[in-house]
């Protein structure tokens, strides 16, 4: 499914990052993708399945969440954090600001698990 992907703050993202970015609570807060419930249904995601979010710049597996901010069909939201950063665009168009909202993305169901923070940096973290 093609969507417009935006990233931003969420309450749990802001709260958990103060408690430590290496925590499981932080991962639960930010390794997610909020989708309009009708889009979720159209995707046919089964219980316990995740989604792979893919842009021209990367791809990442996160947990799909029915959006409390619905209705917003065709728009997917990911909280700021290391998982969202894996699919963002570093192009600033001469402004200094990379592309962190309004990216074209595809969402597809997957049985793959959500990576831990350590796995995300494939062993570069100690």
């Amino acid at each position: 499914m093609e969507v417009i992907l935006i990233t931003g703050r969420s309450l749990s993202q802001g709260r958990e990052k103060e408690g430590g970015k290496l925590s499981e609570a932080y991962r639960r807060a930010v390794a997610i993708c909020e989708l309009d419930p009708e889009d979720l249904e159209a995707l046919g995601i089964k219980e316990g399945e995740n989604v792979r979010v893919r842009t021209d710049f990367g791809s990442i597996v996160v947990k799909p969440i029915p959006s409390p901010q619905a209705p917003h069909r065709g728009v997917a939201f990911m909280p700021y954090g290391p998982w969202a950063s894996m699919v963002m665009n570093s192009e600033t168009h001469g402004t200094g600001m990379p592309t962190l909202k309004g990216l074209r993305a595809t969402i597809e169901p997957t049985k793959e698990p959500v990576a831990s923070l350590k796995e995300l940096y494939s062993g570069r973290l100690r």
Partner: protein, 403 residues
């Protein structure tokens, strides 16, 4: 121990200030970290920064203005690229203000006088949880007593919890802020729009919002990263600044950016009074140069221009797009932070510092430019210094003099 009067984010900050601390300075060689003394860490940091051809000095979202001015003296001394986190936040807003100008006021004025509050591309219920109660529609002001005395307008691409509180909510299509703001400007200037809809909104709804804005006694437009990060960047903010300027032909209207990271506004203030520019300052020519796209951190990283970086009070490894973060991981970094973060975990030198506003006093600036003295409430762990002290010590070794 508890926290009163703080929002959810502040409560978490105070209650969690001692979790996940960086326990001691570390030096990382070949991916292996070993704890070292502060002196050894400072020597190694100074060596990395003075040997670099084009070091970057970046961060400053969560530290004091006093530390920031110390960092800028060091940056100037080593001919660095100095940038702060507004580069990925309200940098575009600052660029827009440089083009258009800004009709603004302090938050106290908003609380006491505003009868129309607009949040555009901003969701304060999540990002600034007490904003609406302290300064916004629910605030108790001298001339506006409460919610009933104010109208709340929200413009966003999703029906956020802030939008659910609005008297008037415009759900626009992503990427159409510039068009909708321009349509409002046209309406204010009594120009006929020969279209039926803009940004997915019927033109009558936009005209209704225009009437609301022109008809208020004192309106305030708070705007967030929905404008600065979406396609168009600073042009979106220019349209908002111009709209507010145009509204002042009809009534009193002001605009205030919703700043995040408790002292990014202070970083812009300190950068500006020290160098003349709010962010993205290059010192490599021996004098400050400002050219977003050229002298900004993300762009310099993307082009592989920086060969070392000093990161203070920020976690760019987590928050920069992957390609930029990968570039940052390829160069030696010196990182100052109270906590363990992905950025400290890849640093060649990581030095723990005190939490400003909890373990160290310092000056921070509120989103409206008002300076606040943050207090020291508790002592930092033994041996942990402030960002300012560590930066001055590094500076003394690098520059050979007391900066």
């Amino acid at each position: 121990m508890g926290v009163r009067n703080a929002c959810a984010l502040g409560t978490s900050k105070f209650l969690g200030y001692n979790h996940g601390r960086l326990p001691s300075p570390v030096i990382r060689v070949g991916g292996e970290a070993r704890p070292v003394s502060l002196e050894e860490a400072i020597e190694r940091a100074a060596e990395i920064l003075s040997k670099a051809n084009y070091p970057a000095v970046y961060g400053f979202g969560s530290t004091s203005v006093e530390a920031i001015t110390a960092a800028l003296e060091l940056a100037e001394g080593i001919g660095a690229l100095a940038d702060n986190v507004s580069t990925i936040c309200h940098g575009p807003s600052l660029e827009a203000v440089q083009d258009i100008g800004e009709v603004t006021c302090t938050l106290g004025v908003v609380r006491h006088r505003a009868d129309l509050i607009v949040y555009w591309g901003s969701n304060p219920v999540y990002s600034h949880p007490r904003h609406m109660i302290r300064y916004g529609p629910m605030a108790e002001g001298r001339f506006r007593k409460g919610r009933a005395d104010r109208k709340l307008v929200v413009v966003d691409v999703r029906k956020t919890p802030t939008a659910r509180l609005a008297d008037f909510f415009l759900q626009i299509k992503p990427g159409t802020d510039y068009e909708v703001l321009s349509a409002l400007r046209a309406y204010i200037k009594e120009i006929d729009l020969e279209v039926e809809e803009v940004g997915g909104i019927r033109i009558e709804r936009i005209e209704e919002l225009g009437e609301l804005m022109m008809g208020c006694q004192f309106g305030v437009l708070f705007f967030g990263l929905g404008l600065t990060m979406s396609p168009g960047r600073h042009r979106n903010v220019e349209a908002a600044l111009a709209l507010v300027r145009d509204l002042n032909a009809w009534t009193k209207f002001a605009i205030v950016p919703m700043r995040g990271h408790f002292n990014v506004e202070g970083a812009n203030a300190a950068f500006t009074w020290e160098t003349g520019y709010p962010f993205g300052v290059d010192f490599s020519h021996g004098y400050p140069r400002y050219n977003p796209g050229e002298t900004t951190f993300v762009d310099a990283l993307n082009r592989g221009e920086c060969d070392a970086a000093l990161i203070v009070a920020s976690d760019p490894i987590s928050h920069l797009p992957k390609d930029s973060a990968d570039k940052l991981m390829e160069i030696p970094t010196v990182v100052l932070d109270p906590h363990i973060t992905p950025t400290t975990l890849v640093a060649h030198v990581a030095i723990p510092t005190a939490h400003v506003g909890i373990e160290a006093q310092g000056t921070a600036y509120r989103m409206d430019g008002v300076p606040l003295e943050l207090k020291k409430l508790v002592d930092p762990p033994p041996g942990i210094l402030t960002d300012e002290e560590v930066l001055r010590r590094i500076g003394r070794v690098v520059l050979g003099v007391s900066p």
